[in-house]
Point group: C2
Chain length 487, copies 2
Amino acid sequence: MASKQIKTNDKHVKNLANIVGGSRSILYHKEDLLAYDSDGFTLHRHLPKAVVFPKDTQEVAKLVKYCSDNQLPFLARGAGTGLSGGAIPMNGEVIISMVRMKRLLSVNLENRRAVVEPGFVNLKLTNSISDKGYYYAPDPSSQYCCTIGGNVAENAGGAHCLKYGVTTNHILGLEVVLPNGEIIEIGENGIPDAPGYDLLGLITGSEGTLGIVTKITVRILKNPEAKQTVLAYFDNVTDGSQAVSDIISAGIVPAALEMMDKTAIEGVEAAAFPVGHPKDIEAVLLIEVDGISAGIAEQINQILEVCNNRNVREVKVAQDELERGRWWANRKTGFGAMGAISADYLVQDGVIPRSKLPQVLNRINQISEEAGLRIANIFHAGDGNLHPLVLFDARIPGESEKALAAGSACLQACADVGGTITGEHGVGIEKREEMRFVFTDEEINAQTDIREVFNPNNLLNAGKLFPMPGRCVEIKKELKEKEAAIS
Amino acid sequence: MASKQIKTNDKHVKNLANIVGGSRSILYHKEDLLAYDSDGFTLHRHLPKAVVFPKDTQEVAKLVKYCSDNQLPFLARGAGTGLSGGAIPMNGEVIISMVRMKRLLSVNLENRRAVVEPGFVNLKLTNSISDKGYYYAPDPSSQYCCTIGGNVAENAGGAHCLKYGVTTNHILGLEVVLPNGEIIEIGENGIPDAPGYDLLGLITGSEGTLGIVTKITVRILKNPEAKQTVLAYFDNVTDGSQAVSDIISAGIVPAALEMMDKTAIEGVEAAAFPVGHPKDIEAVLLIEVDGISAGIAEQINQILEVCNNRNVREVKVAQDELERGRWWANRKTGFGAMGAISADYLVQDGVIPRSKLPQVLNRINQISEEAGLRIANIFHAGDGNLHPLVLFDARIPGESEKALAAGSACLQACADVGGTITGEHGVGIEKREEMRFVFTDEEINAQTDIREVFNPNNLLNAGKLFPMPGRCVEIKKELKEKEAAIS
């Protein structure tokens, strides 16, 4: 196979190309780099220095060591579906793309685990084991294309995380390349309380700032014996919210408990997967229960009773897998569906105690009126994870800024009732400053101090996750100045 | 109230006494300190410098700051029931006892959480909310006296952790006094994927080496609608182990799945809560399922069928809550029961993949023969968490050492099959060196580097959890030497 020639004088690009085996595994021309200037959060755009495509852990370690030795900023990228800008090369980073490391390495049904490379696509795992009766639980809406490595970085959630937990609850082990190029393995085959500090938990959700994950051991689950899905329409949001609380209070833990408001319904009905939701209702709930067959019917009856007690207008149970699939497609493509009713949209991701739902939804309405922008709400109601979608038109000067401010105000509303600023999308670039809504300086320092340990020169994904340089950076500067003064 | 006088010339003792309001809140005489020279792991004994009893977070912060400013080693202690020596004052520490901080601060049923002080006893939480239909899930066998603060430090488990997870899965927020005296709050009311690094996970299970927890927000659960408990006797351990695997493979997730072997049965039947287990059987399984009533009977039938297919000698379902309670008392007092058949015993705590149960139990038998010491096995079979109990007599010279060596060999056997060295008891002093069975130097360094960030002078609970000083300690020494050379 004839390899293309590297056409640049940049010695770093040449050296990086050599590490990954030549010009076929690196992009460095501006026209190629444009595709990597952003991720799912498109309000910031920066060009990377280059994009490299390693094929294995050793190559990742060499790339990292090279960047570290040469003080080149770098970051890892999966499918680029992140919604908070975690993979945007703000400092002209070398992007280490994980898409070639996409193998399913092993499946162990007896001990319920699978080992994957980080570029392996989320949904492919379930597809690979479903014939044996197993699946992988975390199901972000982008699961048909997002990678498990990206899911680990963002601690991704999904509709079924109410019952099954987010990504961190399904990660049993990681191989990680540290920012100095060292390779470590953490997690011991899914031990519930492994010895030592919980590095597994620490690295999961660290948004690519502590290391680059190169191998992942995940928990796989047995398919539930049975599933039933309910759609319930309410004439007002308070009744819908109250039904959510009542279902949980009844002791039912649904596999999923989703809600969409009127504006969201307008969007999903105008997009690719309409299911005929009535246009004049204020809230729809999508409720799924799963488990052993024997208990399902009783739970469904309880749910129907709760909905009736809360003045439901109409409630129905999916008649077959086809209907269930259509309802889920309608919900899972909900964010993109906003494109059918708005030029642009900004997804936010706040979390609140379930009991505060009506109060916060009212406040979001107010914010919408104040900003003069429509806000649709699609959310994981069962675990209080809101996704306000601020609709705007970036072509109108000033409207992007207004949308960002409205999104921020929604997060403030969440923080004000004891909630927080992200449930599953991460902080990234987008919510760095909003970290101050929920953390004091001391609390932020405690975190940036940890980043310092792993990432002392802050070359790996700098400028993400935290609002300001940490304490260690300052101490280090001082020490360096002292040393300089001596020599 | 007349306060006792402090009768010592030690200025630190006087100053510490002043912080906690006088002599009633401090112990410093040798005869008082003797009770604090050890915890549930009694093979090491060291006297503390003093034991102080703060009443609130502010006092803890002042004590910590005082110790830190004066280079006094210190550590926190709950009920002292830990099994790996985590609360033993190896360096003559000032012990900060949390037993006066034992209030239940709030209960929020709607959002399923409670806030407790660290000295609050585990079982009291369930007792305080059971009349409203709720409970706290983690149930270490010592739950009638151990504190939730201690549970957080050790990331304690328990029989029902198979279905419900260990302590870390139930902690939603912590207030922590850092080793420099700063107070931070982490966790935001139980958000599934909180922003920033997972400090909550990092501190939970850090065995008191990163900070002192002063307030804990826990998840509480709704009581399951129904429970059923099964006792099954097997004529050989392999059949029993295979039944364990079969139950899980059938897609049942029991609330608990416990096993005891013949020697363990001999112990529990000779102790305070005998239930009439046949003396000649090789293994007993205690299996509990819970959930909504509708599904329970079917699950029990499946379990009985699995047991029958694996040549069970006898299997029975608890007829009422009284019988269920007796079976559990028999199991939960199992460790202490070994006192009925042996002068001393050493509990070990290894974890293995479920499928390796028969192989590892064979190896433990071999170790027992080689050491000439009986080893009983009581374990959480469902999650592969073994508790080999090495029976010995400390009065016989050399036998303690033999027991320790046999315990260590059991852990090596676990590590050899891809398991690890602790499931729920922690590393403490006991298993520091065994950390090398599962971690490389790089991996241990990554952890001690983190300790450095929180605990830079290693005054807080030094000498626990890791086999050697970390990398940062060395770097720091170097810097100090440099600075010294200058001045």
